[in-house]
C-alpha cells in the first residue's frame, strides 16, 4: 500500500469514528489504533484479575455467610470481567498467553490501586465503594468507545461494577452504624483508601501523555482531572451519609465553581507504586506468576487430552 493510500484509509477511518460508527475486528485500522487498544484493553483486563487478589484475601475470613457469598460472587465477577476483556483484546490479533506473558514480565501495567494491602474487613467495603466507584467513573464513558468489542464488554462490566459499588457502600453503612470498633474500622479504611482512589483516576492532565489521541478515538471522553473532580463531587455526600470523615483537611465546597476543592495529591507515592515499589506489588506479581507456573502442568494436560480426543475421533471416523 502506498503512503497516499494509507493516508486515505486513515481519513476514512477517523471520519467513521467521528460519525460514532463502531470499528469491528475485521475492519481496517491504523497500526497505532490497534496497539493503543491492545495496551489499554489488556491493562484493563490485567487490573481485573490482579484486582481479584486483595479482595480474595478476605474470602476465607468474611464475617458472615451472607457476606462470604457476596464477596465470592464479586471476586468471581472480576474474573468474568477479565475474561470478557481478554477476549475483546484477542480480537486485535494477540493471544491470551502473550498478554499474560506481558503481565508476568512486568511489561504490561495494571491499576496501581491493587498494590495496596487489605488489612481489615472494612477494606472490602471501602474497595467496593471507592475503588469500584472510581472504576465506574472511568468506565461508563467507555461503553460508547469506538472499538466495538471493547464497548460491548464495557456495557456488561459497568452493570456489575455498579452492583459492586452499592454492595461496598452497604458494607460501610453497616459498619458506620455499628459498634464503636466497627465505626473506627470503617473510618480507618476510608483513611487508607481515599487518596489511592483519587490517584486511580490517573496522573494530572499536565502529566498525562495519551489524552489527546485517546479523546479522538473515544477511549477517553473527559480528562483525568475532570473525572477526579466528578468522583470527589459524587463521593463526598456519600461519606457524609455514612458519617465518616474524608481524610483531607482542605476539602471544601466551592460555591463559585460548584465543585469541591481538595488538597494536594501525593504524586510521588503514585509514581512509586506505578514503578513497582508499592506495598504489595511484589506479592501481587508473585501470586499471579506463581499461579501460572503451578498451573502449567494442568494446562498442558488439558491440551494433551484434547489432542488425544481429537485424534481418536478421526480414527473412529476413518474406520
Amino acid at each position: 500500500m502506498s503512503e497516499k493510500e494509507v493516508k486515505n484509509l486513515e481519513e476514512i477511518f477517523e471520519a467513521r469514528i467521528a460519525r460514532d460508527e463502531k470499528i469491528e475486528p475485521k475492519d481496517w485500522m491504523p497500526e497505532k489504533y490497534r496497539k493503543t487498544h491492545i495496551r489499554q484493553i489488556s491493562q484493563h483486563a490485567h487490573s481485573e484479575i490482579v484486582g481479584m487478589l486483595p479482595e480474595g484475601n478476605w474470602i476465607s475470613r468474611a464475617p458472615s455467610l451472607r457476606r462470604k457469598v457476596a464477596l465470592l460472587a464479586k471476586v468471581q465477577d472480576e474474573a468474568g470481567h477479565g475474561l470478557y476483556l481478554y477476549s475483546a483484546c484477542e480480537t486485535l490479533g494477540i493471544s491470551r498467553n502473550e498478554l499474560y506473558e506481558q503481565l508476568h514480565s512486568g511489561k504490561a501495567k495494571y491499576s496501581s490501586i491493587f498494590n495496596y494491602p487489605t488489612v481489615t474487613w472494612a477494606d472490602m467495603g471501602a474497595i467496593g465503594w471507592l475503588v469500584d466507584g472510581a472504576a465506574i467513573i472511568n468506565q461508563v464513558p467507555l461503553c460508547s468507545t469506538s472499538y466495538g468489542p471493547y464497548a460491548r464488554a464495557m456495557v456488561r462490566v459497568c452493570k456489575e461494577e455498579s452492583f459492586h459499588q452499592r454492595q461496598g457502600f452497604e458494607i460501610m453503612l453497616k459498619l458506620a452504624n455499628g459498634t464503636p470498633e466497627q465505626k473506627e474500622m470503617a473510618q480507618d479504611a476510608l483513611n487508607r483508601w481515599w487518596w489511592p482512589s483519587l490517584m486511580m483516576l490517573g496522573p494530572t492532565d499536565a502529566e498525562s501523555v495519551h489524552t489527546e489521541q485517546s479523546m479522538k478515538w473515544k477511549l477517553k471522553r473527559k480528562t483525568n482531572d475532570e473525572l477526579r473532580q466528578q468522583f470527589i463531587d459524587q463521593t463526598v455526600p456519600q461519606a457524609d451519609l455514612l458519617g465518616l470523615t474524608i481524610p483531607d483537611p482542605d476539602l471544601k465546597w466551592n460555591e463559585e465553581t460548584g465543585h469541591y476543592d481538595f488538597g494536594n495529591i501525593n504524586w510521588d507515592e503514585f509514581w512509586q507504586v506505578v514503578k513497582g515499589h508499592g506495598p504489595c506489588n511484589k506479592e501481587r506479581m508473585n501470586a499471579r506468576v506463581g499461579a501460572w507456573k503451578r498451573g502449567a502442568w494442568v494446562r498442558d494436560a488439558a491440551m494433551a487430552y484434547a489432542e488425544k480426543k481429537e485424534a481418536r475421533k478421526k480414527v473412529s471416523k476413518a474406520s
Binding site: M52, R61, P63, V75, E181, A301
Partner: protein, 271 residues
Amino acid sequence: MTNNSTTDQSSLPLGEMSEGQRGNLHNYILGIADNSLILGQRLGELCGHGPSLETDIAGTNISLDLFGQVRSYFQYAAQVSGDDTVTEDTLAFMRIEREYKNVLLVEQPNTDFGYTIVRQFLFDAYHLLFLRELEKSTDETLSAIAKKSIKEVSYHWRFSSDWIRRLGDGTSESHERVQEAVTDLWMYTDELFHQTEADQAMIAEGIGVDTSKLKDIYYKMISDVLEEATLEIPVGKYFHKGGKQGIHSEHMGYILSDMQYMQRTFPNMEW
C-alpha cells in the same frame, strides 16, 4: 413419621417432636451442611490462584453453590434448634472444633490442582447420590433443599469427573500427579458411608438417607471414571474416619481459625 399433611413451611411439626428427636434432626442437618461448609471454605481459599481464569471461575462457582446450600441447611437447623440465639452464622462460626461434623475428606488441603480436583471428585459422587435420596425424605424442607442442590451438584460432578479424565489421560506428569492424589485421598472415602447415631435415628424416621445402600454404586461410579482416565483404582483397605464425631485432622483448627477470625475477634456484632 407422619408429617405429610402439614403445609407449614418447616413441614415438620417441630412442636410435636420430642427433644431427642429434635436433637437428632439438628445434628443430622449439621452433618450434611458441615461437609459443604468446609469444602466451600477450602475452595474459597483458591479464588484467584488457580491454573486458569476458567478453572478459577468454576471453582468459585462450586464454592458459591456449596455456601448457598449451607445457608439453607443452617437456617433450617436454627429453626429446629428452637433456640432464638442460634442463627446460620452462630452455627457456621461459633462452634468449637469438636462440634463440626464434616468428614475428613473435605478438610484436606489444596495441595495442588490434582488434590483439589480429586477431593472434589470423591465428594461430588457421594454428594450427588446422597442428594438424590434426600430428595425422597419425608422432611419437606430437606427434600426441597436436596431438589435444588441436585442441579448444582450434577454440574460439580461433571466438572470434577471431566478434569479427572483430562489429568489422568493427559500428560505423563499429570497422570502421575493425579494418581498420587487418588491414592492418598482414597483412605477418606469410606467415612462418607459411616453412620452416626443421629444418622441412624433419622433413617429410622424416614428423614435420613441410608447411605449404606449407596456404597456399591458410589465405588462403581468413581471406578468407571478412574478407569476411563487410565488411572489405577487403589486397593487400600485402611481407611480413616472421625470427622463425623468431631475428631478432625490437624488441618481443621487452621481452617476454623481463619473462618472464625472475625466472629471470634468481634463477638456479637452485625456485619
